[in-house]
């Protein structure tokens, strides 16, 4: 049916995860951080879908379902994350995560 082997998808997923991780580790801007997390999460969703699609008969529906749930989860996460960004900006006037270390004390 399909000519594209699953390894390609997995490679794409790994690349997405790598980009996401790189962003998480290097960005100090909260919004960029959120975007990076979303990218990394998309890697996971892609994996679910790929394995669902290639798992053969019947069993694939669970992976699809997980993907849908994760998409919803990502949306809520962004909502909460942006709310934090707004609050942070109001309180500190900056959205640099390196400065938000109050909880450490």
């Amino acid at each position: 049916m399909s000519a594209i082997p699953p390894v390609d998808f997995l490679a794409l997923s790994a690349i997405l995860l790598g980009i996401g991780l790189f962003g998480i580790l290097t960005r100090r801007n909260f919004i960029l951080l959120l975007i990076s997390i979303e990218i990394a999460m998309n890697a996971a969703i892609l994996n679910f879908v790929v394995f669902a699609a290639y798992s053969g008969t019947g069993g694939g529906i669970g992976g699809q379902a997980a993907a849908v749930v994760l998409v919803g989860l990502a949306a809520t996460e962004v909502a909460v994350g942006l709310a934090i960004v707004l609050a942070l900006n109001r309180v500190r006037g900056s959205i640099n995560v390196a400065e938000a270390t109050t909880l450490r004390q």
Partner: protein, 679 residues
């Protein structure tokens, strides 16, 4: 007999009547319109108690026997313990037998008289409700002790009288000396008490299966065990070290309560309490409980010969030892207190020599003349407000009744015939004398007891002459003395009659029945004179060995005369300057430095150990704990540096950790699988 059974069946009421007084006064005494009303409640109820007590005493005289009533199980322990597969139970019951009837007479009569006297003596005191509540509680506990039908109930009430004594000695609690004396009394008797408890355990073990199939201890440590054999008869030889130790523990308990050497120090200090308390508790009843303990132990459990020698030694030595200290005392109450210790020594001596009932007879007469002496002294203190003999003098004219009462008490104490003390003290001496042949080791203690007769007569007449003779008080600042109200005079008269005549009771056959060895306990005839003595010599009361009587009478007369020579007619004898006796006098006044020694042990030695232990606890044990704590704190201090608070750093740690873990599994995983041997 039916009527008597009925009467004895109500014996439990006797302790409950003062208990009722305790509850009424304790709850409502301070709300009564006049504080004396609470006092009259106590007097009234103790009068009813006395009536029943005397009836029981008479009933027991008419028909000697043992009546037990063990209706209440106090504590049932149905679990296997020691030799009892089915456990044991501790009962609360009343036991009326000749010995307890005799004690009951003493306790209820003196108890009522002192209650009555206190109305007058304590009338000015704001703490009157407290006083009567505590005194009623004491009377309850003391009667309970007398009527106990088992060793454990006895111990329970024994502790209760101790705590009542503690409260009453500390009655004037705002005086530091009274507070200190109360503590001392409780502590010193407590030492005796724990040893007593050890003795109970030892008897528990020894007599566990004695007294028939049920077992003495299983049946509740009872003094009379139904139809079982008399327990004392089980002491067959001196070869039982457990029994010997048990007996010594009982002696220790008795020594604490009866203020015998070396646990005597508390009694003179206990004079800090009101004089009425001294009369009731520290002369007539509670301190006699120690002797009573020895008596019931010797009757029901038995002493080994070693125990007997120890008891004789303690008793004989104490008679003399305490009498020497009384000789120099300037305080009228303390003179009588030392005299009490000394007289209790006589009783202990008699019990130790195997003549239990002789000791009990001396206890009986002593209760009356000693209470009389205390109440007379109280009358003096009430009149002039001092206890210092050297401030008194010439009180004969002002206080004629008190004068006569004190004289009767002094003559009785000195053992001058025909006063009561003569009969009982003489019986003690002659009965110990009768044992000297078979027990030569008794000799020195017999001689000490004999010597104490002289000292007794001397010190009591010294006090008597100092207080009452002479022209006028030596301290002119003292107030005019007046006799107390009738409530104080009546007890003096009644006690004077008893102190004079109680000795004649032995000639009344019914009363002698209480003291005679023929009565039965638990259906068998016990060997009253101590089971270890092979041939029992029944004492013939009142007609003692004439030679001994003559010697003791001569000694007593000598004591009186010496006192007259030195102190008569208002003379005040002072030791000549540089006399060789001065150091002796100092030694006696300082009570052989025993009190100072005990204080040193308590305050310095024990307390220093406690302080040192506290140091160890705080700095070594807890220091180790804190050291561990600090080590962890330092470690975490180092580790918390990596907690920068920057989210990205944490993310980096997570990634590093996950990657590290994956690598680890990649390389180590196969190795682990082969090592465990799993699939």
């Amino acid at each position: 007999m039916g009527a008597l059974d009925f009467l004895f069946g109500w014996a439990f009421l006797v302790p409950l009547l003062p208990a009722l007084a305790f509850v009424i006064i304790g709850l409502g005494g301070s709300r009564m319109k006049r504080l004396e009303w609470g006092g009259w409640v106590a007097v009234g109820l103790s009068f009813v108690a006395m009536v029943i007590g005397v009836l029981i005493g008479i009933g027991e005289m008419l028909s000697p026997g043992t009546y037990t009533d063990t209706s209440t199980v106090w504590l049932n322990v149905p679990t296997p313990v020691g030799p009892f597969p089915n456990g044991f139970s501790l009962v609360m019951g009343t036991l009326v037998d000749p010995v307890s009837a005799l004690m009951l007479l003493v306790v209820t009569i003196v108890g009522f008289l002192v209650m009555l006297y206190s109305i007058g003596y304590m009338h000015h005191d704001r703490g009157l409700p407290r006083y009567y509540a505590e005194l009623s509680l004491f009377l309850t506990a003391m009667i309970g002790l007398v009527l106990s039908d088992n060793l454990l109930e006895f111990f329970l009430f024994w502790e209760l009288v101790g705590v009542c004594s503690y409260f009453l000695i500390g009655f004037y609690y705002e005086k530091p000396s009274a507070a200190s004396a109360a503590k001392e009394a409780f502590l010193v008797t407590r030492i005796g008490d724990v040893l007593f408890l050890l003795g109970v355990f030892l008897y528990f073990a020894t007599y566990a299966l004695a007294g028939g199939g049920a077992g003495w201890a299983a049946a509740g440590f009872k003094f009379a065990s139904g139809n079982g054999p008399f327990l004392g008869s089980l002491v067959t030889s001196a070869s039982s070290p457990t029994l010997t130790i048990a007996g010594l523990m009982m002696l220790a308990g008795a020594a604490g309560k009866s203020a015998q050497f070396p646990l005597h120090v508390w009694l003179p200090d206990a004079m800090e309490g009101p004089t009425t308390v001294s009369a009731l508790i520290h002369a007539a009843t509670m301190v006699a409980a120690g002797v009573y303990l020895l008596a019931v132990t010797s009757l029901f459990l038995g002493f080994t010969p070693t125990d007997q020698l120890a008891i004789v030694a303690i008793g004989g030595f104490t008679t003399f030892f305490a009498a020497t200290m009384a000789v120099v005392q300037p305080d009228i109450k303390r003179v009588i207190a030392y005299s009490t210790i000394s007289q209790l020594g006589y009783m202990v001596l008699a019990v130790g020599a195997g003549f239990t009932m002789v000791g009990m007879f001396h206890l009986f007469t002593h209760a009356f003349f000693k209470a009389l002496l205390f109440l007379a002294a109280g009358s003096v203190i009430h009149a002039i407000g001092t206890q210092d003999l050297f401030k008194m003098g010439g009180l004969r004219k002002r206080l004629p009744l008190t004068y006569v009462a004190f004289l009767v008490g002094a003559l009785s104490l000195s053992g001058i015939p025909p006063f009561a003390g003569f009969f009982s003290k003489d019986d003690v001496l002659s009965s110990v004398y009768s044992q000297l042949g078979s027990h030569p080791a008794y000799w020195p203690f017999f001689l000490l007891a004999l010597g104490a007769v002289f000292l007794t007569a001397y010190y009591i007449f010294r006090a008597f002459l100092l207080a009452f003779h002479g022209a006028s008080p030596r301290d002119p600042a003292l107030p005019e003395a007046h006799e107390g109200p009738w409530v104080m005079r009546v007890p003096l008269v009644v006690l004077s009659v008893l102190a004079f005549g109680a000795g004649f009771f032995v000639f009344v056959p019914a009363f002698a029945g209480l003291l005679s060895p023929g009565f039965t306990i638990g259906g068998v005839v016990p060997a009253l004179q101590g089971v270890a003595l092979g041939a029992n010599v029944p004492p013939v009361y009142g007609t003692a060995d004439l030679a001994i009587s003559a010697v003791s009478l001569a000694l007593a007369a000598g004591g009186v005369l010496t006192a007259w020579r030195l102190w008569g007619n208002g003379r005040v004898y002072a030791l000549p300057e540089g006399s060789g006796l001065a150091p002796v006098r100092r030694l006696l006044l300082n009570r052989y430095y025993m009190k100072a020694g005990y204080d040193w042990v308590g305050q310095r030695a024990v307390y220093s150990v406690a302080r040192a232990a506290d140091f160890v606890d705080q700095f070594i044990i807890d220091g180790t704990v804190r050291g561990i704590e600090r080590t962890f704190a330092r470690m975490s201090d180092g580790l918390r540096r990596i907690q920068t608070g920057v989210v990205s750093d944490y993310a980096a740690y997570v990634v590093t950790g996950v990657v590290g873990l994956l690598l680890l599994l990649l390389f180590l995983g196969p190795w682990i699988v082969t090592a465990i041997g799993g699939g």
